[in-house]
């Protein structure tokens, strides 16, 4: 059981670091949203799952389960809201420039 917790914590940290590198390095709103939504959701979900496994069968596990379900519903909805807001304000997706020819 303890190795499962270790692997889930390491996975959460890895995806968190990768998502932050993507958010800092990507050139556009939509690409940054791609990095933020997927990597952030996977990181937090793995860490909450590891906490549930670490705590065992107790009242804390039920509360963490409720938090996990709420987070899994609202995080993609918030990312979709941000992308829709950017698209309806008229932000055009980033293209690679071709003016060096």
């Amino acid at each position: 059981m303890i190795w499962v917790v270790q692997v889930l914590m390491a996975l959460g940290l890895f995806f968190g670091v990768m998502g932050n590198i993507g958010v800092m390095r990507f050139p556009d709103i939509y690409t940054r949203l791609h990095a933020s939504s997927k990597c952030g959701t996977t990181s937090v979900f793995s860490i909450l799952l590891a906490c549930m496994l670490l705590r065992g069968f107790s009242p804390m596990t039920g509360k963490i389960l409720v938090i996990t379900l709420f987070f899994l519903i609202t995080a993609p909805v918030a990312s979709h809201i941000i992308g829709r807001c950017a698209w309806q304000r008229g932000v055009f997706p980033w293209r690679r420039r071709r003016d060096d020819s």
């Binding site: 998502g19 932050n20 949203l33 933020s36 937090v44 860490i47 909450l48 963490i64 995080a75 918030a78």
Partner: protein, 88 residues
């Protein structure tokens, strides 16, 4: 234990500081909203980890209310900017 809870908590703190950097230097409002969403998720994970480490169940209620407030905040900010773009 190779990867203790302290290491995970402090690494998440460093990650959320980097996300706050994106909020500070994001050129458009949507970039700042992306950073806010990311910081909200990471602070949620930090709160749950601290609650599991110290054994206080009250911090889980704080984490749930923080998740709700983060979602409603994103909704309100995007509604504000959408209406502002509609009028112009």
């Amino acid at each position: 234990m190779v990867l203790s809870l302290d290491i995970v908590i402090y690494t998440l703190l460093g990650i959320s500081v980097v996300s706050i950097l994106r909020i500070v230097l994001g050129p458009t409002p949507e970039d700042k909203m992306i950073g806010l969403n990311l910081v909200s998720a990471e602070v949620l994970a930090i709160l749950v980890l601290v609650a599991v480490k110290t054994g206080r169940p009250i911090l889980l209620d704080v984490a749930l209310v923080y998740a709700v407030l983060g979602f409603v905040g994103i909704l309100a900010i995007s509604k504000y900017f959408f209406r502002k773009g509609e009028e112009e």
